[in-house]
C-alpha cells in the first residue's frame, strides 16, 4: 500500500477511525466507521466514511472538500480496513459509496493499493448483481472484503 496516507487515530472499540485531510481548503476531519449488522444471524460490517462537521458533530458524506488529496484519503481508508480486520479477523466488510462517483473512488482506492491489500484480504466487487474477485478497471457497484 502507498505509504502516503494520513496518520489516523482509532478509538477503543476498534471500529471508529479519524484523520485530518489537509489541503488548499484547510484541515477537514474525516471519520471511518465500521457498523455491525446482524441480519437474522448473519453478521458483517458496513464501512461508512464521511466528513465530520465541526459545528454539529454530524457526518456529512456528500460534502466535497476538494483538498486535492483524494489518493491519500483513499489510502488512509484502506489502511483502516487492514487495521480493523486485524482486530476483527473474522469480520466481513461491505462498502459502497453514497453515489456511483464515490463508489468509483473506492474502486480506484482499492486498485491503487491492491498489491498490499491482496496479501492480507480477499476483495470482491459486485457487477450486475454478480460478485467477482476484484479486478482493476472494472466499475463495480459495491465491494466486500475479508481476511485470507
Amino acid at each position: 500500500m502507498s505509504k502516503d496516507y494520513y496518520p489516523y487515530f482509532g478509538n477503543a472499540s476498534g471500529m471508529a477511525f479519524e484523520f485530518e485531510s489537509e489541503g488548499r481548503n484547510g484541515k477537514i476531519r474525516k471519520q471511518v466507521q465500521y457498523t455491525l449488522i446482524d441480519d437474522n444471524g448473519v453478521v458483517y460490517f458496513n464501512l461508512g466514511f464521511g466528513d465530520l462537521n465541526e459545528q454539529t458533530g454530524d457526518i456529512d458524506d456528500l460534502s466535497i472538500s476538494d483538498n486535492q488529496d483524494r489518493e491519500k484519503i483513499l489510502a488512509t481508508v484502506a489502511a483502516t480496513v487492514l487495521e480493523f480486520t486485524s482486530y476483527f479477523p473474522k469480520a466481513i466488510v461491505y462498502a459502497k459509496g453514497s453515489t456511483s462517483a464515490r463508489t468509483r473512488l473506492y474502486r480506484m482506492g482499492i486498485a491503487k493499493n491492491l498489491e498490499k491489500i491482496n496479501k492480507t484480504l480477499r476483495v470482491f466487487g459486485r457487477l450486475n448483481s454478480q460478485w467477482h474477485e476484484f479486478e482493476k478497471d472494472t466499475n463495480y457497484e459495491a465491494f466486500m472484503v475479508f481476511r485470507r
Binding site: 487515530f9 482509532g10 471508529a16 457498523t35 446482524d38 437474522n40 461508512g48 454530524d58 459502497k96 470482491f124
Partner: protein, 62 residues
C-alpha cells in the same frame, strides 16, 4: 418470512486498538448517517447476496 435485523451500537464487539489510540475519536455507529448506510447495506445484501467465498468464510466460523 420475517427478517429481523439489528444495527448494533458495536459495544458488544469491542476490540483492541494496537495503532494510535485517541479517546477523542467517538464511535458514531449511531449517527443517523451511518445508521442509514448500514440499513442500505443490509437491504443491498438481501437483494444481491454474498459472494460464495464469503458464505464459505462465514460457514468456517461456525
Amino acid at each position: 418470512m420475517e427478517i429481523k435485523m439489528k444495527i448494533n451500537s458495536n459495544s458488544a464487539y469491542s476490540g483492541k486498538v494496537r495503532g494510535t489510540f485517541s479517546d477523542k475519536v467517538k464511535d458514531r455507529s449511531n449517527d443517523p448517517y451511518f445508521v442509514k448506510k448500514a440499513i442500505d447495506a443490509a437491504e443491498d445484501i438481501r437483494k444481491h447476496g454474498f459472494p460464495k467465498e464469503a458464505l464459505e468464510f462465514l460457514k468456517g466460523l461456525k
